[in-house]
């Protein structure tokens, strides 16, 4: 009986060990996932280091409003987040065209720092220009498919299906309307635009119940409706 029990225990143990061994040898999905993730992280780290290394010491410029001044370190608020300007002692500082010092600077002023990148958000600044920010006219880009054309008023209604937005595109005498035809960008007339044309309009935005754009440029995207005959022009102009 003892012998039987021993044999039974030994065989059972053998199967148990083989089951564990098989389990240990088989790569588990989580082990594979974590290994892949680890390699990805390492590659990302190396790429980031290489990029930062390559950028370090490169000439660069940051611009934005000064939000904080601490000794020689300026913090500016840019359209891409906060950046810092480490203003060197020998840096040229110009305020409204005149030589200035760090003490003359005030928060809220628009400044342009030029120098060498220390890291992505820190600039070793060699030249600092403080001036009024040039206010530019607001422009908007609209994409859509023509759903309605008012020939008399020269107004287009376009719909952007993706954004579920309707734009009213107003055309004036300065509006340049172009379309790529036979490989060339050609000027066309308002009358050449047909319903279902897809287009991109660039211009000054305003708003009532719909978005209104007074178009400076309209580019009719080719290939969506039957091509219209080009209006003869002396010169093919891509954009003004």
């Amino acid at each position: 009986m003892k012998k039987k029990l021993t044999i039974f225990t030994l065989i059972a143990l053998c199967f148990l060990l083989s089951a564990i061994a098989v389990k240990a040898v088989s790569p588990t999905p989580e082990a594979t996932d974590s290994a892949v993730q680890e390699i990805r992280d390492k590659v990302k780290e190396i790429v980031r280091e290489k990029i930062e290394g390559a950028q370090q010491g490169q000439k660069a410029g940051f611009f934005g409003e000064i939000s904080k001044i601490t000794d020689s370190l300026l913090t500016i608020q840019t359209n891409q987040g906060e950046k810092q300007l480490n203003v060197a002692t020998d840096a040229a500082i110009l305020q409204n065209g005149k030589k200035a010092t760090l003490e003359d600077l005030e928060t809220g002023s628009f400044s342009i720092g030029m120098g060498y990148l220390e890291d992505t958000n820190l600039l070793d600044t060699k030249r600092l220009v403080v001036s009024k920010k040039t206010e530019l006219p607001v422009r908007e880009v609209a994409f859509g498919q023509v759903t309605d054309i008012s020939s008399e008023e020269e107004i287009l209604t376009i719909k952007n299906e993706k954004k579920n937005l309707i734009y009213t595109i107003e055309i004036d005498s300065k509006t340049v309307i172009t379309k790529k035809m036979a490989g060339k960008v050609t000027k066309i007339k308002f009358a050449d635009i047909v319903e279902d044309d897809k287009l991109v309009a660039v211009g000054a935005p305003s708003e009532n119940e719909h978005k209104i754009i007074t178009a400076k440029i309209i580019y009719v995207i080719p290939g969506f409706t039957e091509e219209v005959s080009p209006t003869p022009t002396t010169k093919a102009t891509p954009t003004p």
Binding site: A12, Q55, G61, F63, K133, F143, K162, V202, T239
Partner: protein, 145 residues
């Protein structure tokens, strides 16, 4: 004796199978837990890369010039890649450009900079209206630094 060994082998085999099944089930439930946790982490901290595209978006990569570059030339070329035949618009300080990328989605367009800060907005639309946006900040100065 042979009969007993045979029974022992069968019992041992069944026991081995039961244990393997137990380990497999435990691993599976652990893996599901890990996946749930990973999803939660990913939702709270999305990884954003330059070339990643979300639903309703297309890729847009500007290869030249680099963002925040300090340039000493008034006229520069904006070089990049997006969806094939995408319509690209560039809004810059002194004007606008609208053109089409080529069959590979590559484009190159010259623009003129103003002295100092230049905020350049680049948008690409594919034929379905999916879009991608990038903003380039460039500083143009002829002064030596």
């Amino acid at each position: 004796m042979k009969k007993e060994i045979l029974i022992a082998i069968i019992i041992g085999f069944i026991l081995g199978l039961v244990i393997t099944f137990g380990i497999w089930t435990a691993n599976k439930s652990l893996q599901e837990n890990t996946k749930t946790q990973t999803t939660e982490v990913n939702e709270s901290q999305p990884i954003v890369t330059e070339t990643s595209t979300e639903k309703g978006q297309i890729s847009l990569v500007i290869s030249s010039p680099e963002n925040n570059a300090l340039v000493n030339q008034e006229k520069i070329e904006i070089v990049g890649q997006t969806a094939a035949q995408a319509t690209v618009t560039i809004l810059y300080e002194e004007g606008e450009e609208v053109f089409q990328a080529d069959e590979k989605g590559e484009f190159s367009q010259g623009i003129t900079l103003v002295g100092g800060a230049n905020e350049i907005k680049i948008t690409a639309f594919d034929e379905e209206g999916n879009e991608a946006n990038k903003t380039l900040n460039l500083v143009y100065s002829s002064a030596e630094i």
